[in-house]
Subunit: 77 residues, 4 copies
């Protein structure tokens, strides 16, 4: 589930291995560019962390973050 702070939506993901994590990241990359909204994200081996915030709105959560979060949830295996 996405954690909601004053500033952002955050979620951590864990996959079987790096290759599986990469399959997920590759799908999210396409979604991000399509939504014209890019995550702050990091990866180590099978773990992925994604942070969504809207810089243009003064680092708050907006509809753009919620829509991208929902789209990301749909590509989870």
């Amino acid at each position: 589930m996405w954690r909601e702070t004053d500033e952002s939506l955050e979620r951590d993901f864990e996959f079987k291995d790096f290759v599986a994590a990469w399959g997920f990241l590759s799908q999210v990359a396409i979604l991000a560019e399509k939504h014209q909204h890019h995550p702050e994200w990091s990866n180590v081996y099978n773990r992925v962390s994604i942070r969504l915030t809207t810089h243009d709105a003064g680092n708050t959560i907006t509809e753009k973050d919620r829509k991208l979060a929902a789209a990301i949830d749909q590509v989870l295996p």
Copy 2:
């Protein structure tokens, strides 16, 4: 299932949409380079076709093709 001809192993895949197909292709790309054995493959929207053959062995099926095919099967959703 992989179709076996005199020359190659071939298999077609179908996914929900392009993004899902791309998640699969991205994993296979890593596997191919790791195995140092690269497929002949094509994609249109949600469809992917993969053909495996060993050029160095005169375009026949070798253990390299069978191993890559098995690795590909394991990243299927």
Copy 3:
């Protein structure tokens, strides 16, 4: 350069190796989904072939094909 037939725009690309080809394909994948227009494309090791046609327009070349072709040209190394 893109070859223009009655039905499609086609172009072949050659890269240093598979990894370089994959860097290109990964960028084109994002562009394709962003344009909501997906190529017929294939890859073997360092070679990539892309064919652009508009199925909805009876397999002819439309502005959608020309725009995606132009976008693809811009991500070439």
Copy 4:
């Protein structure tokens, strides 16, 4: 250039836009799995940060880190 600390090699990269950054990340992903050595890395839009350390050696820099760093440098545009 890679910054060297007691524990890791670190380098920041900047690209034209997200798509260009993704082309780079996609190549590094393949290299990482091929080397069986995975970076700690993050991305925001056109910026990428990579940190290399060898966990199995008590979070120090080893030959594995130097080799992956050299391979990464070779896929820079």
